[in-house]
Symmetry: C2
Subunit: 246 residues, 2 copies
Amino acid sequence: MARILLTVEYFGKNYAGWQRQKNALGVQEVLENKLSLVLQQKIVLVGSGRTDSGVHALAQKAHFDYEGNFPLKKLAYAVNTTLPWDIRIRSAETVPDDFHAQYSAHSKTYVYKMYLSRTSRPLKDLHYARIPYEKIDFAAMKQACGDLVGTHDFKGFSSTGSGIKTTIRTVFSAELYENGEDITLEICGNGFLYNMVRIIAGTLVWIGVGKLPVSAVKDVLTTGKRTLGGKTFPPQGLYLKEVNYE
Amino acid sequence: MARILLTVEYFGKNYAGWQRQKNALGVQEVLENKLSLVLQQKIVLVGSGRTDSGVHALAQKAHFDYEGNFPLKKLAYAVNTTLPWDIRIRSAETVPDDFHAQYSAHSKTYVYKMYLSRTSRPLKDLHYARIPYEKIDFAAMKQACGDLVGTHDFKGFSSTGSGIKTTIRTVFSAELYENGEDITLEICGNGFLYNMVRIIAGTLVWIGVGKLPVSAVKDVLTTGKRTLGGKTFPPQGLYLKEVNYE
């Protein structure tokens, strides 16, 4: 038996997120079906974690156990030729038997891409969230962004319904970049709650346009109140960029 | 009567190009229908020229004549709310009655976006053409690119079936940019033949990967032979970036 780790890129628009589920199509289901077909045995993937409906991944990670002789070097190519265009295996490698795509990860990095424009932009709307303003207080956003770093209770930065034990997470870094009309948030943490990055993006933007005070991030962290933050920004701006292992 | 000039952005995937046509949907038809609806009169657009099926535009230009009192400042917003997401009017302005979207233009600028990767990349494939190699001789491509500049017979850089009078065009500038795995061609000329930019892109890439000599651009220009160039690259990498008026 060998444990194989896949790195997968996907454009999320046509999928109800990563996870296999009953009434909608997840990326996991498509991948499992094609892997099973190519390897001629039932393959079950263990992903690094969910991504929400419509969210993209530059490098989602998933492992599976396989007994057989299919050459690993040809696996990505063979499966990719059967996959729809919006899912691709970037690489496949053997990992130790005790490696686990979810539990061995010590952190994840997400990117959230936005652009400033009064009018929506067809050539950006598949890959960015739009901020419908001409100007934004980037300095205020940056200041508030810094308040995210550290170990906090992120309850107020999550949507209900996830049923997890604790809402305490550590954010190792959170950076904002500005490039013309584009604003990018890059955030690295040991775990992310349901909708957490999208609510953080929405809150930073509401600070930037003056709908919330610059203290809003601190306020949400201190009180745990979702209502003190901005709106949940849309999925098409969000990318799982990296899952970080030892 | 007023002559109004529109600047239009579109994501081309879902359209058979700009031009209104019988058996397929052009961007022009969608725009004309929505303009006619909002302005409550039959609107006929005169575009700066065609774009091919699947090609994008950052700033296509089109004019129309209008008699009525609809406030010009609200036109883009009013029409945009009725348009599908992949077409947007970026601006609308009054121009002199003798202004013509096609004939008043002295040049156009196209951009062709490519990326180098053995594996296709779902997060790029809607907006770039893929070069299925790991390395490319960028210096050779740049050298050949320089040969495009000037007044030449571009017959060998066009697909047949356009039925135009002359295939002589002037290219004012042609630049290649490299950024990591991305390669961008930006070309400005007084007119472009059918598939011209896409054949130029394909020829430069074939020079870069060694399938053609660095002299291939000159050879095609001198002989007019389409067969001495590279393949016609796909439409999703091509953008009409600017139509330049006095």
